[in-house]
Amino acid sequence: MAIEKILKDDASEEKGERARMASFVGAISITDLVKTTLGPKGMDKILQSTGRGNEVTVTNDGATILKSLHIDNPAAKVLIDISKVQDDEVGDGTTSVVVLAGELLREAEKLVAAKIHPMTIISGYRMAAECARNALLQRVVDNKENAEKFKSDLMKIAMTTLSSKILSQDKEHFAQLAVDAVMRLKGSTNLEAIQIIKKPGGSLMDSFLDEGFILDKKIGLGQPKRIENAKILVANTAMDTDKVKIYGARVRVDSMSKVAEIEGAEKEKMREKVKKILGHGINCFVNRQLIYNFPEELFADAGILAIEHADFDGIERLALVTGGEIASTFDNPESVKLGHCKLIEEIMIGEDKLIHFSGVEMGQACTIVLRGASHHVLDEAERSLHDALCVLSQTVNDTRVLLGGGWPEMVMAKEVDELARKTPGKKSHAIEAFSRALVAIPTIIADNAGLDSADLVAKLRAEHHKEGCNAGIDVISGSVGDMAELGISEAFKVKQAVLLSATEAAEMILRVDEIITCAPRKREDRM
């Protein structure tokens, strides 16, 4: 019939059951894709970019994997989106959130097949999510008062986060690094103050945290390589020709001698600028922009360390650490705040020379130098460390902590099961399904570790029916273990975000009963 032709030619429309099928299939296949990376024995993925050079990334990070995929299925896009948000918001749990949402949808698919209306499923899921969250809230441990204990909590969280990554061999070392770095921030979540420098070479164990600040730059020729009690001027100014900014100005001369004169004036101008800078009584000058040879020579003459072309982040961080302000004009030296540090020296890491500022005034910033066998290892190490740092910095603000290793899921599942028993009506099926989806996470962790998941999870469930149980899956020994003793912890904020975003995403996909895909935009330059 002609009536169906209300859309454009290439557009497609899927309705009712078919639409639901399409979104379930899409979402579940995404889940299955990242599922195997979950847990301490999860596997990595190799991603090859389609861009030039076909760069390869090896990673275990859910958000990174999903970001790199080109997906056409709209439901899958929803899942990718939640994973990205999880990354932005709490930094970790990017795989868990997708897996949980996928499991929720998998359960929903069964319910829909059993002729339960999606809206009923949604309201059941909502009740279950609320109940699960309350269950977690009851079991959280908050060690805010006790600094000593809190620090060990942080340490445990860092180790748990890192244990699923490439750094798991040296997790203790890196957990220490991450905790130290975050503790220096003193509650701020500004991770920019933590600089991560990657230098290939050495082993991962050689990575270290430096209390000072390391700038990946070289010191100008003929300038001192080591300065004690440095006064630093951090600047953002042109040290090349210093253009005349008045619009329409141009140089027009009629003889060679005039050119020379103007050149002289220009040089004079620069000399003056340098003199003004020197007037600040500094012995180190760091500029964001280039420093030309001439001013550099002037600085060298004055015995001042001049560093050019430090990028914007570097400048901001340097200003932050040394307590100086970023200056662009130099007319009144008395009111410009200078940065201070005890020692500036050139150090060698591997084969590269770096500038090291130590003994800085503000202890907030620090630098982590990562060493490793190859770029891939370093990139993955950075991502893992970033995850750990994110989680830690969020935990410093929200100090509530939970046990890990599938413990929270089991606690939630138990409570949700109770709720299902109490709830009359069709919703109880949905609530029950929610609990099954929660149990799927420890099951996957066990499966990924090559353990007998059915047996383990059943044991775990039995354990959890005792009061105040701390049982979780101990992947290393392959049995049910006491998570408190093993020191496996997770941040409450991460778990909560996983739970809520996953439910929200599942809800969104469930509500859809029609998918309309517009005709793709025609591209001229198709390859």
Partner: protein, 535 residues
């Protein structure tokens, strides 16, 4: 295709390239049009009501939108058919005029078309049908006025407004925290409303969203948010009792419009020029400082040197603020937008109680909050949510709620929702039909049947038996002579909408009926469709 021949039997060419056009005429054309219109309304039918489903739309660029809002669905659907486009227009005009009921109006039009098709088959002339519809719509609109109730609220008694907004929000994905969002919307509208003139300028309400956090974190800010940060990382992050200079001129040397050249041919000139240049910056910053500004908001960027000077003078600044935001800031802070430094005077500064920078999550997203403004008439609703689609959908839902609140302020009559108003109108139109002599009677009766379509769809979407429920409610309305009975979508146990607090605005409902009738009339009057063939 009809061809005309002259006396020698040669065909006249009436249409250019006649062979390449397809042409439908007469009953065939009307039927094709009606079925296209119905196809559109069928898509939206399942989105109606609190238990309505969402639609997932993938745009030509691959972006995904998940929504329940009729106008948005149709807009993104990218329809090709001309009649379908009319339906899209219909939904859009309801959106512009009322802001809510965009799904209902299309479902209504679809039902009217369906009824018209039956009448056409019986051989009733389309114009007569159109006239009958017109009469019936007049009866329905008048009847709505009879059953409408005046609705009292004031700045202190906002509960009724909140209830109405909740009715609107309950059909959206955000119904989890509809109460909170409804309150936010009502407060926002009331703070910008002009209760004397009964008007609300919705432009003063800015709806901003940022991914992350929970939906419950959505907040109402009595002020403005700007997605910018201080131009210099070391400027203070919080300013109390700020006096704001709002500039549209860059911190740069002037650029006269006329073409000119400054020639440098001697060393002296070079030097004077240099000094001049430095003076410019100094003057500019000094000017701002002199009038007493403690914050500079600039539409353009500024040079590193100017930036440092500002920082040096302890004058925080924000750069690259968009034009619309600049205007809003000016309205909120009571400041004037200043296009030239020379015109800066203390009176032209805006005032705000608190300006602060806030950062979110683990990324370095920062936003600037300008609060406690001199003129608190501009407010911002700041939405948080799990993902981008959620935020977009929440924005649309909030927009609907805002529109409803505005309509109530304009005209504080309400009718009962849940299909109660439609059922009541249907009864009234049915009764009135018998009084009209002539063929129109049939059309009027058809109109009454079409009005039943909305409650029917509501019942269907809520998983109830549509015909059974509708007839039960209808007989109840007639028996008790009470227009408050509607469809019990949420399974509360009562179908008295007065008890369930399900309201809709009178003007919204009237507009729905009028707009739907208009479009249907237009479609019915078409009896010839000429379009180019597919290739």
């Amino acid at each position: 295709m009809a061809l005309a021949f002259d006396e020698y039997g040669r065909p006249f060419i009436i249409l250019k390239e006649q062979e390449q056009k397809t042409r439908l005429s007469g009953l065939e054309a009307q039927k094709a049009n009606i079925s296209a219109g119905r196809a559109v309304s069928r898509i939206l039918r399942t989105s109606l009501g609190p238990k309505g489903m969402d639609k997932m739309l993938q745009s030509p660029d691959g972006d995904v939108t998940i929504t329940n809002d009729g106008a948005t669905i149709l807009e993104q659907m990218d329809v090709d058919n001309q009649i379908a486009k009319l339906m899209v227009e219909l939904s859009r005009s309801q959106d512009y005029e009322i802001g809510d009921g965009t799904t209902g109006v299309v479902v209504m039009a679809g039902a009217l078309l369906e009824q018209a098709e039956r009448l056409l088959e019986r051989g009733i002339h389309p114009i007569r049908i159109a006239e009958g519809y017109e009469m019936a719509s007049r009866i329905a609109v008048e009847h709505l006025e009879c059953i409408a109730q005046k609705f009292d609220f004031g700045p202190t008694n906002i509960e009724p407004l909140v209830q109405t907004c909740m009715t609107t929000l309950s059909s959206k994905i955000v119904n989890r925290c509809k109460r909170a969002l409804a309150e936010i919307s009502v407060k926002a509208v009331l703070s910008v409303a002009d209760l004397e003139r009964k008007d609300v300028n919705l432009d003063l309400i800015k709806v901003e969203g940022k991914v992350g956090g929970k939906l419950e974190d959505t907040e109402l800010i009595y002020g403005i948010t700007v997605d910018k940060d201080m131009s210099h990382p070391q400027m203070p992050k919080q300013i109390e009792d700020a006096k704001i200079a709002i500039l549209t001129c860059p911190f740069e040397p002037p650029k006269p419009k006329t073409k000119h050249k400054v020639d440098i041919d001697t060393v002296e000139k070079f030097q004077t020029l240099r000094q001049q240049e430095q003076k410019y910056f100094d003057d500019m910053v000094q000017k701002c400082k002199e009038v007493g500004a403690t914050l500079v908001i600039c539409q353009w960027g500024f040079d590193d040197e100017a930036n440092h000077l500002l920082m040096h003078q302890n004058l925080p600044a924000v750069r690259w603020v968009g034009g619309v935001e600049l205007e809003l800031i000016a309205i909120a802070t009571g400041g004037r937008i200043v296009p030239r430094f020379q015109e800066l005077t203390p009176e032209k500064l805006g005032r705000a109680g608190l300006v602060r920078e806030r950062s979110f999550g683990t990324t370095k997203d920062k936003m600037l909050y300008i609060e406690h403004c001199a003129n608190s008439r501009a407010v911002t609703i700041f939405i948080r949510g799990g993902n981008k689609m959620m935020i977009e959908e929440t924005k649309r839902s909030i927009h609907d709620a805002l529109c409803v609140a505005r309509n109530l302020i304009r005209n504080n009559f309400i009718v009962y929702g849940g299909g109660a108003a439609e059922i009541s109108c249907s009864i009234a139109v049915e009764a009135a039909a018998d009084k009209y002599p002539g063929v129109e009677q049939y059309a009027i009766r058809a109109f009454a049947d079409a009005l039943d379509a909305v409650p029917m769809a509501l019942a269907e979407n809520s998983g109830l038996q549509p015909i059974e429920t509708l007839s039960a409610v209808k007989s109840q309305q007639i028996k008790e002579n009470n227009p408050h009975f509607g469809i019990d979508c949420n399974d509360v146990g009562t179908n008295d909408m007065c008890e369930q607090n399900v309201f809709e605005t009178l003007i919204g409902k009237q507009q729905q009926i009028l707009l739907a009738t208009q479009v249907v009339k237009m479609i019915l009057k078409i009896d010839d469709v000429i379009s180019p063939s597919d290739y």
